[in-house]
Subunit: 527 residues, 2 copies
């Protein structure tokens, strides 16, 4: 049931005076429930509870954390049709997408449960003492990863489940042993509250400390700023726009005690099509890419917003085919009037740049909040010298850049901002002739794809979802996959510490039989 209130720990609370509603973009009307933004006292209370909960939660066993995470997954599934309906009413996305994203969210929670139950992830390392070593004895040192403390999570508008309230950031932080405070996304506050209720139920049923999770409503930017600036907060996870992520990164960096912010932000996901591939499969590529560009109304962070090739008749033909294919696709609804407003504005800003040619723009009538997909094209030298063209147009829009030569193509790629993904479309061994292009592309992205589309982020240990700035604020981490837990932990050493006072992970007898590096060797053996 949606109450419109905040969860301050286990307690529903609505002391604030600012109220707001979510919006159904498909029906173009406000949804019924009214939400109350948290006030300063509630924010502070949530942080105090989280700090207090951390004292217990930080040493919670892997087994207990796994129970908690699995219980969250189960409680989310129990929300059943209510969750699907609220999700759709707040996003305009279809039911199939809601169910798919729910499956992914639940899958992420369970994979983190497996990870912490197994326990190897703490990267335990033991170097035993050598009391007789000359000139000085060698101490016993034992190291493992421990949680940072309370984490604030800002979910994404475009993934109300998988990258939001109980999404990857939250799942990873809870798995690490960090209490989480979610700054609920105003566009899907109802979905957020339902998921929050599932987390709170799971926390209570598995005896987690009060404050291990809070869900904070907010309609503007102030609540998030207060949370990030609060001395009790030790890290921040964010998925969203460059402006939003950068503002939080700046705020966190300027604190008296700076804290890490992992913000996954904008990306135009360059796709390079090599000549032979264009020759061999230009037509089917046009169809595939029309689909990828419009998938989810172009509202994927891995949307291919930039396609690069070398000028030729075949590239011209590809552009025409792509234009033809994309116009055939039925327009679909964007998440919110603000999002479509930004799309129309940014698209118009891009297409009004000198020497950019619009080759497709859906012109028939569309419903309110439905996006008109579009394709544009530009010469390499024009693109290179106009930074506006390098900016993301969030929505079903892509730009084909026609380069004069391999050298110009390489130069353009090397001048791109950091990206989540880069894609290479090549035929047989032609990639060998384009090593400079591949090297340049690899240097700008977090993931490189061969003969595929960038949309679709597989959740698995070998995934990197992140990349050089501004794809993320710290390319040394990934937002997806079990390794994303590394954002919320720090290594910690015990020197000459008595065995009975050590955490189980580092005890001589290795009670959980985890894999450890002992004097340089990986083993599950006792010492």
């Amino acid at each position: 049931m949606i109450t419109g209130k905040n969860y301050i720990g286990n307690k529903l609370s609505a002391k604030g005076t600012i109220h707001y509603k979510t919006f159904n973009p498909k029906l173009n009307i406000e949804n019924e429930h009214e939400f109350t933004e948290a006030n300063l006292q509630e924010i502070d209370e949530a942080v105090q509870l989280a700090s207090h909960a951390f004292k217990e939660f930080r040493t919670c066993s892997g087994k207990k954390k796994a129970q908690f995470l699995r219980a969250i997954a189960d409680e989310i599934l129990k929300l059943d049709e209510e969750l699907v309906q609220v999700y759709c009413s707040e996003t305009g996305l279809p039911e199939g997408r809601a169910r798919g994203e729910r499956g992914r969210t639940v899958g992420q929670l369970r994979s983190f449960a497996d990870l912490v139950e197994k326990g190897d992830w703490v990267d335990a390392s033991i170097d035993t003492a050598e009391p007789e070593r000359k000139p000085i004895p060698k101490p016993d040192l034992r190291k493992m990863l421990i949680p940072l403390g309370p984490v604030v999570v800002f979910g994404a508008s475009n993934f109300p489940l998988a990258y939001s309230t109980a999404g990857g950031d939250t799942a990873a932080a809870l798995a690490a042993g960090c209490p989480v405070i979610v700054k609920s996304h105003p566009m899907h506050a109802g979905t957020g509250e339902l998921v929050a209720s599932a987390i709170i139920k799971a926390a209570q049923n598995t005896n987690m400390p009060n404050g291990v999770f809070s869900n904070i409503n907010s309609s503007g930017i102030e609540v998030g700023q207060k949370l990030v600036a609060h001395p009790g907060i030790k890290a921040v996870g964010f998925t969203g726009s460059i402006n939003g992520g950068r503002a939080l990164f700046d705020l966190a960096s300027q604190r008296e005690e700076p804290i890490p912010v992992f913000a996954e932000m904008g990306s135009i996901n360059p796709v390079v099509i090599l000549p032979k591939a264009l020759h061999e499969k230009g037509e089917s590529l046009a169809k595939t890419y029309a689909g990828s560009i419009t998938l989810g109304t172009g509202q994927f962070c891995t949307n291919p917003g930039l396609i690069l090739g070398i000028e030729s008749d075949e590239l011209s033909k590809f552009i025409k085919n792509l234009a033809d294919e994309i116009i055939k696709i039925e327009p679909s609804c964007m998440l919110h009037p603000n999002i479509i407003g930004a799309y129309e504005k940014n698209k118009s800003k891009a297409v009004n740049q000198p020497d950019l040619h619009l080759v497709a723009d859906y012109e028939s009538d569309v419903q309110a909040n439905f996006a008109r997909q579009a394709i544009s094209t530009v010469e390499g030298s024009i693109f290179l010298n106009n930074p506006t063209l390098h900016q993301e147009v969030f929505g079903p829009f892509s730009m084909v850049v026609q380069c004069k030569s391999i050298e110009e193509l390489t130069l353009i790629i090397s001048k791109l901002e950091g990206q989540l993904t880069g894609t290479l479309i090549a035929e047989n061994d032609e990639a060998n002739k384009f090593r400079s292009v591949i090297d340049a592309l690899q240097n700008r992205v977090g993931r490189i794809i061969y003969n595929g589309v960038p949309t679709g982020v597989e959740v698995c240990p070998s995934m990197v979802h992140g990349g050089p700035y501004p794809a993320s604020t710290d390319s040394r981490f990934t937002a997806v996959g079990i390794k994303s837990i590394n954002r919320w932990v720090r290594p910690f050493s015990f020197q000459d510490w008595p065995n009975h006072l050590l955490p189980d992970e580092l005890k001589n007898e290795n009670p959980n039989q985890i894999l450890r590096t002992v004097n340089g060797n990986l083993t599950t053996d006792k010492i």
Copy 2:
């Protein structure tokens, strides 16, 4: 031979107009060589060369990098007595310390050589494709760690070898595949140039690209600022003061493209002495700690600047013993007139705080630049409420805080800034009664020591040298040990990438037989 010039890549260069000399604190005279600060053109040239070298160096094999690192170690040893003499003349430190630190430096270089030669460190992970998976096929994903790009290293004044030109930051960055530009420390510019010459010789002898290393002289802060602000620089390593480290962190965070700064900064390394231990071994502890506080004239980042206990006659006796013992120790030379100036100023600022009692202060005459060691004591409530007393006094100075109760002790620890280390002195099972104290201490430090001294940082995989701010700017990394390489690398994914285009680490045949996680299992097997 010392020329006083910069190494801009392999070339000696001195185009600047600012000149300076190093200082012999023991003789209280300037050393003979004159150094030329790099000018803007030289700084830019070094970064351009590093960016260019990165294109080749980033894919350099582990075997070749290992040759390079071992050659650096060998060339440093070949500098032989010249290096020892210059080191001593620029620091006032004894020859034994020079040799010991050289051994550690060479050992670090060799341990990184072993690491990259073996190759497992890239954390290779492979999830193979499932083309038949429903509803969508699973792609093949392969991930490994790759270098960030050119790194700027700021060495520490107090470790002219192990934490400087070819110290841990440089060794880890080169091992990762990142070119390094060292901002040479002005107090040991001669030592720096000699070590730089060894690195350049090693780079040339092992055919490394020009620009893989540069050594930049500077007498002030501007050169370092220009380097950190340069768009070609992708990460920064720093060891030194809080003010210096924070300024660089702020600069790097405010760049258009923010870059990671790992700064290891101040720490007062709290030591907690429990009552039973005080009773059983108070006398020997006083002797041990007088030694630890004055070791290297108190110029260790792990110097025990704060000792905490619960008020008792035995604590009073310990304070008296510590005072007696420390006065017996012969004063020794600090690194530089500026360092001793800061020591005297900060010590005087501390001892002039209300209700702080100076219980030992070496009063006999001392040579110029020799430090007078001192011990002070204060009540817990006074310490708690006076932030000045929480600040590091870099030098042979320590403060004993007398707490009223376990609760006050716990509260004080929980209010400390982040620290590199915390130490617990306990007898038999008394630690069990002080779990709240231990928990609070663990939450504020990077390494916790049982019945020892914090001085002395063992170089081994289980070491953490870092900690919550301001011990470091990012507690998620360590500055010492092979894992310190993680500061300079990022994960990178290849999706559906052709086997022959993959780096060796991710190829099906696993040519280097490294340990990889393949579909969740650790193995050296082929695919």
